[in-house]
């Protein structure tokens, strides 16, 4: 029997689209969404869709991965400071370890996160971050 279907399902908006919330009293933005504002203790919120753009705040590379993620090892994880404020922890993708640098521009993409129970189970999708280097790549394409 497939496990974890309901908990995965409840998180889908957050995971696929980077939807957090914004405090209606002080405008502070949160991801993941909060029940009580960390800034003003307010309790009224609207949901808020983050742009998915930010900067790399810190990172590390995992060589032996936790259960369910072995297939992707080695891979890097990072803290991304979103342009709207919050820090998000996420897996990094489409990037080699030696390309990573603090302060690098990053953008959110939706990718496979893990597969439950191997090839038989649910495929879990969610946000990851990759290097946002559109201008650099444009120069490469012209060469």
């Amino acid at each position: 029997m497939a496990e974890n279907l309901a908990p995965n399902w409840r998180l889908r908006e957050q995971r696929y689209q980077l939807v957090g919330n914004v405090c209606l009293n002080c405008n502070a933005k949160f991801f993941p969404p909060r029940q009580v504002c960390a800034n003003c203790r307010g309790t009224e919120f609207d949901s808020f869709q983050f742009s998915g753009k930010g900067e790399l705040y810190s990172f590390t590379t995992l060589r032996s991965a936790p259960a369910g993620f072995e297939n992707y090892a080695p891979y890097s994880v990072g803290m991304i400071k979103l342009d709207e404020g919050p820090l998000v922890e996420a897996m990094l993708t489409d990037v080699n370890e030696d390309e990573l640098a603090i302060g690098m521009r990053m953008e959110m993409v939706t990718r496979k996160i893990r597969e439950e129970e191997g090839e038989r189970g649910l495929i879990v999708y969610g946000y990851k971050f990759r290097r946002d280097n559109e201008n650099e790549e444009k120069r490469n394409a012209r060469r």
Binding site: N96, I123, E137
Partner: protein, 352 residues
């Protein structure tokens, strides 16, 4: 009996977006491993999806690009249709997950389309009908694939990854207006994959003449005749591209020049992207076209059939095309991998 299809309400492309994964493997690297002839390779290199990519994730990114250009809210979409032969689940639609990730879920049609390499343009035909009948204002049609060829099979050289997404809507908001479309199919067993099989079967020499050429040429010639057009009436032609040779040869037989084909011919750099192949050729043409250009789009899918579309580019292309990443961005974003890394990425240890 009217064989050319025209919607009651005028319809066009409101937004479009491409996607190609970052990794590439050279055809000569595949030839090196299997001892193939390196002088007659069908393409230069092909795109390979990363370990965390599949038709769903790739469709999401192409569709986000299309939404950015369309400048509409995802909730305005009434259809999210994904054409592919590499849906990640055998049972469970790709399209519902794509819709959810775009913020389009709720009051929306969603479905996965299947017709080998024609699945994407079949979804486009349906999107045109939905909008043209005024049942809906906006519909999203995607053609996307992460095609697989059995190790050492001829298809392994060309089976690439990528595709494109199109938002169809009313012509007054379009960056390219549809003139008409056409479809031509017969039962031709040139290529197939049975349930539970990992890799497809194909008829080798049979795939060329009776399949690709017969359907592509017949469909295009019939359409031109019915519309009273000649190849000179078009600035660009985009054909399905299983390799570099077939579309160039078909275009020549139809009377198109190399210049008309070349902007929409990406297979040499990304491989055959199956349901995505003609549609991503079209995104590169739209990235480079100017208002007034007439574009002929012709798909081909094994089984077999071709869809034909004629679009005329509008002034709106100028303000929209830089609202998302261009096709050239994805072509320029490339990291070469060797066969060992490729085998790991594509789970090639499965040999049957």
């Amino acid at each position: 009996m009217n064989q050319v299809m025209k919607p009651k309400r005028e319809v066009g492309i409101i937004g479009y977006g491409a996607y190609v994964p970052r990794y590439r493997i050279k055809a000569h690297e595949i030839a090196r491993v299997w001892g193939g002839a390196e002088d007659a390779l069908p393409i230069d290199e092909k795109a390979v999806p990363g370990l965390d990519e599949d038709t769903i994730t790739m469709s999401i990114e192409a569709a986000r690009n299309a939404l950015a250009r369309a400048q509409i809210d995802a909730q305005q979409l009434r259809a999210v249709w994904v054409g592919s032969e590499s849906h990640p689940y055998a049972v469970k639609p790709s399209s519902t997950l794509v819709a959810e990730a775009l913020g389009a879920s709720g009051a929306v049609l969603a479905g996965d389309w299947q017709f080998a390499c024609k699945a994407g343009t079949e979804a486009m035909q349906a999107a045109i009908a939905l909008v043209g009948s005024e049942m809906a204002d906006y519909a999203l049609a995607i053609g996307m694939d992460t095609a697989q060829g059995r190790p050492h099979d001829a298809l392994e050289y060309t089976a690439g990854a990528g595709g494109a997404a199109y938002i169809l809507g009313p012509a007054e908001n379009a960056l390219a207006v549809l003139e008409a479309s056409y479809s031509y199919v017969t039962d031709t067993p040139d290529f197939f994959r049975r349930a539970y099989q990992h890799y497809p079967e194909h008829g080798n020499r049979f795939t060329g003449e009776p399949a690709y050429f017969d359907h592509t040429l017949t469909a295009t010639q019939n359409f031109l005749e019915l519309m009273n057009y000649t190849p000179r009436d078009f600035h660009y032609v985009v054909l399905h591209q299983p390799n570099v040779k077939f579309p160039l040869q078909a275009a020549q037989q139809l009377g198109f020049t190399r210049d008309q084909v070349i902007h929409g011919l990406l297979v040499g750099k990304i491989g055959n992207t199956y349901a995505g192949a003609s549609l991503i050729g079209m995104t590169n043409v739209l990235d480079n076209a100017k208002a007034g250009d007439r574009i002929l789009l012709v798909s081909f899918g094994s089984g077999a059939g071709s869809d034909v579309f004629s679009y005329i580019v509008t002034e709106k292309i100028l303000e929209r095309r830089d609202l998302a990443k261009r096709t050239a961005f994805y072509l320029g974003r490339r990291e070469l991998i060797d066969y060992a890394r490729y085998a790991r990425f594509r789970n090639k240890l499965v040999m049957n």
